[in-house]
Symmetry: C2
Amino acid sequence: MKYVIFAIITFLLGPVASMAQRPPSLSSPEVHADNRITFKYFSKKAQKVMVSGEFLTAPQAMIRDTSSIWSVTVGPVKPDIYPYAFTVDSVQLADPSNTQIFTNERFKRSIVEIPGKTPLVHSLQNVPHGKISYRYYQSKTLGTTRQMLVYTPPGFKPNGTKKYPVLYLIHGGSDTEETWTKVGRANFIADNLISQGKAIEMIIVMPYGNVRPAPMADFTKDVVSDIIPFVESNYPVLTDSKHRAIAGFSVGGGQTLNIGLTNTDKFAYICSYAPYTATEEFQKNFSNYAPDANKINSQLKLFTISVGTDDFLYESVKKNIAMFEDKKIRVKSYIVLGGHTWMNCKQYLATTLQEIFKN
Amino acid sequence: MKYVIFAIITFLLGPVASMAQRPPSLSSPEVHADNRITFKYFSKKAQKVMVSGEFLTAPQAMIRDTSSIWSVTVGPVKPDIYPYAFTVDSVQLADPSNTQIFTNERFKRSIVEIPGKTPLVHSLQNVPHGKISYRYYQSKTLGTTRQMLVYTPPGFKPNGTKKYPVLYLIHGGSDTEETWTKVGRANFIADNLISQGKAIEMIIVMPYGNVRPAPMADFTKDVVSDIIPFVESNYPVLTDSKHRAIAGFSVGGGQTLNIGLTNTDKFAYICSYAPYTATEEFQKNFSNYAPDANKINSQLKLFTISVGTDDFLYESVKKNIAMFEDKKIRVKSYIVLGGHTWMNCKQYLATTLQEIFKN
């Protein structure tokens, strides 16, 4: 009862009372033991509230109760982490009660995790945890200070004798440098695979791949001339190509091909996830591609391209794979079920982390 | 032209085409050299779009153009960092085009920075940058793994001989462990003050202060029994009370008083910003408060309470200050202009950082 009174006082006097109309505190989403999910939204004025998400085949209507709380319970849903959003009348928005945000430049969505009975590779488990650091570097290429995220593994010693291999990991089209951790859970995937002995200890660098209005090709320069030197002067890392990998999703998957295959002396591992390649830079690099395949095949320890059969880029990616095969470049293709989603993308990363730096 | 075509293709084939109805890429907010700000929002169906923000006395209507882009230019606005939101018909939401989010459990707002001509203390400046690390710790008190953010200063050596003082810094009511960096820019404020020699090098620990449904008092236990031991076993820090400070805003300002004044053997610096004290825990600690003032005054090197004259808690905070004075506890009050805002809160922090660990 005291708690209820406190909650009411908090509601009335809440710290942003100056912006008023503060909604009541709701618990949304609530994930139930049977893998169903309840979503809630408060609105006195809305005519229609829907929830859409990559676990639903169609948006579901939410029902208003007498206290203007709209809700719906869906599922059971297959254990995974999914983006979702509410549509209130004509407006799509992130769930106001959920702090887990899909970091993106063009929309705001929320994230829900259905843990399931057996911990998934991307779940927070009771294992030693690495650390994500938010770092700033000076990009001479782009003339600005930019942010990158750096994962260091459990037990990392910045000044010890052990030196680490580095994976450079690039987000999708309108994502940001935070999307690989906030949505892709790259840190938990690495923690879990390292603790199981399935991946070796590595540093994962997650830069911000959007350089607009500069030409996209400037990101290749930024990686090679600014990001790699920053990492190599600030972290104890191995600096030969066999200890450097590059991977990325969607637009970042296209950037991975551009950066990696024009720098096979620098990256022995290139892993492209559902690459988006309808870009000037890809056109320039690969429309008249005449590689020394023997040389490249001897430089690369691993070159993979992953895609799902429901991905809207599936046909395009198959053409990319065929093109590389036609040029006699050794490429391993991973064709799986699923679409152009972060659910798939997390699996691509989990597969990759178990393969790189091992030969 | 090629860029325009690429932009159109990206829009048509965008990575989340599966969720369709993707809006065009907008640049919002745009901050102009004369400190005016242009906001944009895309909607074909909205009847009315408004922008509200802590730089406006009233919400401003946005005007729709023939391509369904709603916009308005406001200001000039006094240089600072402000939260703002759009209201589309009845729905308040964060700006979909802006990745700078006000991290909060109960609403989604966006952040806009008006840099001004002279760099402000919270701005990204060309100085050496510290690092923010996202860490996980096991809370025995709360029985879960929780996240905290840890700022380490420029030049920080984790295994060097130098040992650092630590500030524990707590967010407001429905904020999260990210709000002090994402909105409060604690890291840039520290970087700038350290580089100017105005603050000494320190570690800043930003925990997550919300422990509901556990009683709020459990956060005091969590800080003392779980967070401090985690920090002291993972960072090279000084562990006497003269090298430990606690500060917090709003609900976190109340927690600061509860945690600090019941542990004056552990914290020699207590800085409370616009404290919200209508809580059971505060009531329990201070309604029959009978302190040994001489002892406490000799333990504390600095005890400050800050508030703005337009703060909705102003009267309440004045009573808190009077209560401590009445009990002969030496308290320094900072009464400034302004309301219960993060603009004020950043100033409280900037003042505090220049005072702690100096005597």
